[in-house]
């Protein structure tokens, strides 16, 4: 694995979420994975984006104030939510029919690794520290029109999470179309990784150094 030469000023999780949110067009139907992807909802306030939750909801609104909690409204992360006007409810088969049938414009998922052919590994590190669990990750990976991955560019030990070939168990084959990391935005194309944007002060070479696959210029 490549060893970064210099220490970069990286984006926070909130900044990463905001950067990703900026690219979501008005009117898109979007599913946000559990964890960091959930933050994306905080940065689309000026646009009408319709959020889906796997447990059977479309039109998920912001978190309620404590005094306004509706105990029968939770999202797939088991957090209390609200519904927007225009929201709808349905059962789990319909909810995943919607996902698998290619109706979601976008799923934002976390990732352990993304390969240059778009393969995603995000459900198991093999070691299964927290025990095996897959949830809706494989369905979202296989089903959404666009799969954007929101993750740090490297592991804590400095290894690239953007790789030639995933070493962890796969979630879905060739499904990732874009990656938002704490230093860059990278398109996954038929030719491999293409740098789309980088964080302030981060150069192409900075990103390539931290990517264990060939990075192409746009």
């Amino acid at each position: 694995m490549s060893e970064p030469a210099t220490k970069l000023k990286t984006l926070t999780r909130e900044q990463m979420a905001a950067r990703l949110a900026a690219d979501i067009p008005e009117g898109w139907y979007v599913n946000l994975g559990i964890g960091a992807p959930t933050l994306v909802a905080n940065y689309v306030a000026n646009r009408e984006v319709i959020f889906h939750s796997e447990n059977g909801l479309l039109g998920v609104g912001p978190k309620p104030a404590d005094e306004n909690i509706e105990p029968w409204l939770i999202n797939a992360g088991k957090q209390y939510i609200t519904m927007m006007a225009g929201g709808s409810t349905f059962d789990s088969a319909d909810s995943f029919g919607l996902i698998r049938g290619g109706h979601l414009d976008l799923a934002v998922l976390g990732g352990y690794e993304v390969a240059e052919n778009g393969d995603l590994a995000n459900w198991s590190t093999g070691a299964n520290d927290a025990g095996p669990a897959v949830g809706g990750a494989m369905d979202l990976g296989a089903g959404a029109k666009q799969v954007w991955v929101l993750m740090d560019h490297t592991t804590k030990s400095g290894s690239s999470k953007l790789v030639e070939k995933c070493s962890y168990p796969l979630t879905a084959l060739g499904s990732v179309t874009r990656i938002y990391t704490n230093i860059a935005v990278i398109d996954v194309t038929p030719h491999g990784f293409v740098l789309r944007d980088s964080a302030p002060g981060v150069t192409f070479d900075d990103v390539q150094t931290r990517t264990s696959a060939v990075l192409h210029r746009r």
């Binding site: 105990p71 059962d91 669990a133 168990p169």
Partner: protein, 204 residues
């Protein structure tokens, strides 16, 4: 087979009954199995559950399931959530098997028949039947017609019909016709027994 997503739409009191009855050798089909409190914990702790068929047997507040699993005291069939839902719906709808792109080319699809359809690799999945389904509803009438409250719908409507015996605990009993034809979310044909248990709101 157990309705609910997390604690919303989960038939807690029917689970209590399962504990009280001392049923053992259970294969539990449910989206979540990593309970932190309640009768699910008792069922797991007492070894009443032999195997779990589940997409997410993990819970932020508890490592009970994971510990049992690591010790080899409980079996697990991990199923992607959408495939789990579709297999249950298939059981109810008389579809014995179907192809899906979900899990194709992954560990969870590895032991299954795979086939390329329209250029896309798919796995063949089987309908998932149960002996008993325990469900939670918001309203029920004498015929067993049901409605659910908001996110309480989830797996309940599709499990109705996927088991030989379907038992529902309902928050509210209503008269026939109080639900308009369009308001009935699960027709009574799928339901064998209804128990009126006004237990109140779910606790996360």
């Amino acid at each position: 087979m157990l309705g609910g997503f997390g604690s919303v739409g989960l038939p807690n009191q029917l689970l209590d009954g399962l504990v009280a009855k001392g049923v053992r050798g259970i294969t539990l089909i449910a989206n979540n199995a990593g309970a932190a409190f309640g009768s699910m914990v008792t069922l797991l702790e007492t070894g009443a559950v032999e195997k779990v068929v589940c997409s997410y047997p993990r819970n932020a507040q508890s490592t009970l399931f994971v510990d049992l699993y690591r010790e080899g005291k409980i079996g697990l069939e991990l199923v992607p959530q959408g495939t789990l839902a579709e297999r249950i719906r298939a059981a109810s709808a008389g579809i014995p098997a179907f192809f899906t792109p979900t899990a194709a080319g992954t560990q969870l699809g590895a032991s299954k028949e795979q086939r390329e359809i329209n250029g896309r690799l798919c796995v063949l999945e089987q309908a998932l039947h149960a002996d008993v389904a325990l469900l939670e509803a918001w309203q029920a009438d004498r015929w067993g017609n049901l409605s659910y409250r908001l996110a309480g719908r989830n797996f309940n409507p599709i499990m109705a019909g996927a088991a030989k015996l379907t038992i529902v605990q309902t928050q509210h009993k209503v008269e026939l016709g109080e639900m308009r034809p369009d308001e009935v979310m699960t027709p009574g044909i799928y339901i064998n027994r209804v128990v009126h248990i006004p237990y109140g709101d779910p606790v996360l």
